[in-house]
């Protein structure tokens, strides 16, 4: 039964990674850049929700909605100010700028909210933990809702990208930026929309993650950010189902290493898996191989 318990917490953690990885993968798909600052948007979302519930007395679910709204705006602003001026230049320049944005968010949070760890109150306080199989199997509401949220987000996002006009525009831009522009698609708007969706999802991920692991600090987003990034690369960056698969596999690997090998080495094992996957499939599990044109 402990294996099953580990599997459930692994899937729950993996769902958080998958939701974060979606932001990475969509942004990469459309603007071919790694948004290093994405992990720190998670932290901002969690802080907004925390401050609203604990200091302004707002309902936890309302605070989640406000956090999503604020992170969405933050994502658009970051793209507009830091990334758009560098569009079309080499990936090195954009990547370094993204690292700068990540450091900016972390240190701004440090100045605004201090370095002390805050205890985050779970979004699902009113729900009961489920005990099954004579109490040997426990499912916390956090795990259950995180996994559910992941499934819902995945379905909605897939429908949005495949069925709506805006989603079609996004796919067109990621396929061929220039041709999409010639077809009358507003490229800037499409990219802004992608950043907005990714950052809104980051806020959800932040609240879900801090509900399960309640310590909140300015650096809270950094490690999950890097791991979700790893998950996106693992699944094949640019691919939405890849992000989901990569996130879930990574979460399960991490929890199982923590439980059965060594809690200190769990991160090392996760990263080692990434290197091995990239060795075998250089573009990740579901990544497309891009042939270079001369």
């Amino acid at each position: 039964m402990s294996v099953l318990n580990s599997l459930i917490s692994g899937l729950s953690l993996g769902s958080v990674y998958a939701i974060i990885a979606l932001g990475y993968t969509m942004v990469y798909g459309i603007s071919k850049m790694l948004n290093f600052a994405h992990g720190d948007v998670i932290m901002v979302g969690a802080y907004v929700s925390f401050l609203l519930t604990n200091h302004a007395g707002v309902n936890a679910w309302v605070s989640l909605v406000i956090a999503i709204a604020i992170c969405t705006v933050l994502g658009i602003v970051i793209e507009r100010l830091a990334y758009r001026p560098l569009r079309g230049t080499g990936s090195l320049a954009v990547l370094i700028t993204a690292i700068g944005v990540s450091y900016f968010l972390q240190n701004a949070a440090l100045l605004l909210w201090g370095a002390d760890p805050r205890m985050f109150n779970s979004l699902f306080r009113g729900f009961q933990t489920i005990h099954a199989a004579n109490g040997s199997l426990t499912i916390t509401p956090e795990s259950l809702f995180t996994i559910l949220a992941n499934i819902i987000i995945m379905i909605v996002l897939t429908l949005f990208v495949n069925k709506t006009k805006a989603g079609k525009a996004m796919r067109a831009v990621s396929e061929d930026n220039g041709a999409a522009q010639l077809m009358g698609i507003n490229v800037n708007q499409s990219i802004s929309l992608t950043f907005a969706i990714g950052s809104g999802l980051a806020a959800i991920a932040g609240v879900l993650m801090c509900s399960a692991y309640p310590v909140l600090m300015p650096t809270t987003g950094a490690m999950p950010g890097i791991k979700a990034f790893t998950a996106a690369v693992f699944g094949g960056i640019g691919s939405i189902p890849g992000a989901m698969i990569g996130g879930l596999i990574l979460g399960v690997i991490e929890i199982f290493s923590r439980a059965y090998i060594s809690s200190e080495l769990a991160d090392a094992i996760v990263f080692a898996c990434l290197i091995i996957v990239l060795l075998i499939k250089p573009t990740g599990l579901l990544g497309k191989k891009i042939n270079e044109k001369v």
């Binding site: 001026p85 320049a93 370094i96 900016f104 080495l265 250089p282």
Partner: protein, 371 residues
């Protein structure tokens, strides 16, 4: 036959890619900065103008200069982004500590131990660079960044659980937990997350400055060699480089391994300047800090990186009261510098302004070299 002809053409093509006079100018400025800096700081310390706090920063300044030069080899010359140089530093630092501790009883001279430790750390770090470099250098830019980052984290994680010690016979033993067979408390050298304690310092300002000079010598000579020009031509256009017969993988690996070895030596020197050294010192932030030196100095500009490294190591000590705002300022400066160097419109405007100030200066800017 055909292959041979291509090789000859390559040689002809690469000759004169960098003008000899430019190389001489760069070398003169770089060595000049190092020598003048050394003399000024040494004189200042002797005359008592420079306080104890700043004197303690002499070795780190040289170490960070070396690291900036070493990373410039990867970021500037080879055009790849490495976020794992702190990992190579850690490998060098801890192997250096092990070597000096093993030799403590047999070799009494500190500098000799230091030189042996430096050589050992260079070898081990280059081995690490080779092992990690072979699989990943086929990856494209962004993937390389994330894998080097993963490598740095793996090294730090491993150091957190690795224990090294000398048993009664003076043999080196290691284990993945607190108890190492046959090693008592006095024999312990590296103890997991706490790291190494009670290190007998063997580094001095002079030896650290000599290491920087050595790093400079290696990188500048490489830059001015046939191999260096090959590395830079692959950076500018990989397909064109490949089509004139350059072995892309070989040259990228060459830059990466040499850079890793130099970073390992710098890490060794760094650790020898302190009596304790914990693995947390070598986290992602350190890798990013080295990258900040390179970016602020101008990517590919070797002496620019040296100046940035020295200033950013000294300034936090001098501006202690603004410590809270330091990282925030770094972040903003990093973003602004990147946008001003790479955005076509802003670059044209800033460039025009600079040209007006110095009408005779040639217009080639270091930022232009990286595509």
């Amino acid at each position: 036959m055909a292959k041979k002809r291509i090789k000859m053409n390559t040689r002809g093509l690469l000759k004169g890619a960098v003008k000899g006079s430019e190389y001489k100018k760069e070398a003169m400025i770089s060595y000049g900065i190092l020598i003048i800096g050394y003399i000024v700081l040494q004189a200042g310390a002797a005359a008592g103008i420079i306080g104890r706090n700043l004197q303690g920063q002499f070795v780190p300044i040289c170490v960070y200069m070396s690291l900036a030069i070493a990373l410039n080899l990867v970021v500037g010359l080879s055009g790849e982004l490495s976020l794992g140089h702190a990992g190579f530093m850690a490998v060098g630092a801890f192997s250096g500590i092990l070597v000096t501790r093993i030799l403590e009883t047999s070799i009494s001279s500190g500098p000799v131990r230091l030189v042996i430790a430096l050589i050992a750390s260079a070898l081990i770090a280059s081995l690490a660079g080779f092992i990690i470099g072979i699989p990943i250098l086929g990856l494209q830019g962004d993937y390389l960044a994330i894998v080097t980052l993963a490598f740095g984290e793996i090294v730090r994680n491993l150091m957190n659980v690795l224990y090294f010690g000398l048993d009664a016979n003076g043999k080196l033993r290691f284990a993945f937990n607190h108890t190492i067979d046959g090693v008592d408390t006095s024999g312990r050298i590296i103890t997991g997350a706490i790291g190494a304690t009670g290190v007998i310092k063997t580094a001095s300002f002079t030896s650290a400055a000599l290491l920087t000079a050595f790093t400079l010598f290696v990188v500048l000579n490489l830059k001015n060699s046939k191999q260096g020009r090959a590395i830079m031509s692959i950076r500018d256009n990989r397909i064109a480089g490949e089509s004139i017969g350059l072995n892309v993988r070989k040259y990228k690996l060459m830059a990466f391994v040499i850079s890793a070895a130099l970073a390992g030596m710098a890490g060794c020197m760094f650790a020898q300047g302190y009596s304790t050294m914990a693995p947390t010192k070598f986290n992602v932030n350190t890798s990013v800090l080295i990258l900040v030196f390179v970016v602020l100095g101008g990517i590919g500009n070797i002496w620019g990186g040296m100046i940035a490294a020295a200033l950013l190591t000294v300034l936090p000590e001098a501006l202690r009261q603004f410590a809270d705002y330091r990282m925030l300022t770094y972040a903003i400066v990093l973003i602004v510098v990147m946008i001003c160097t790479y955005n076509p419109t802003i670059k044209a405007r800033v460039g025009g302004f600079v040209d007006k100030l110095k009408p005779k200066k040639d217009k080639a800017k270091p930022g232009k070299e990286v595509a």
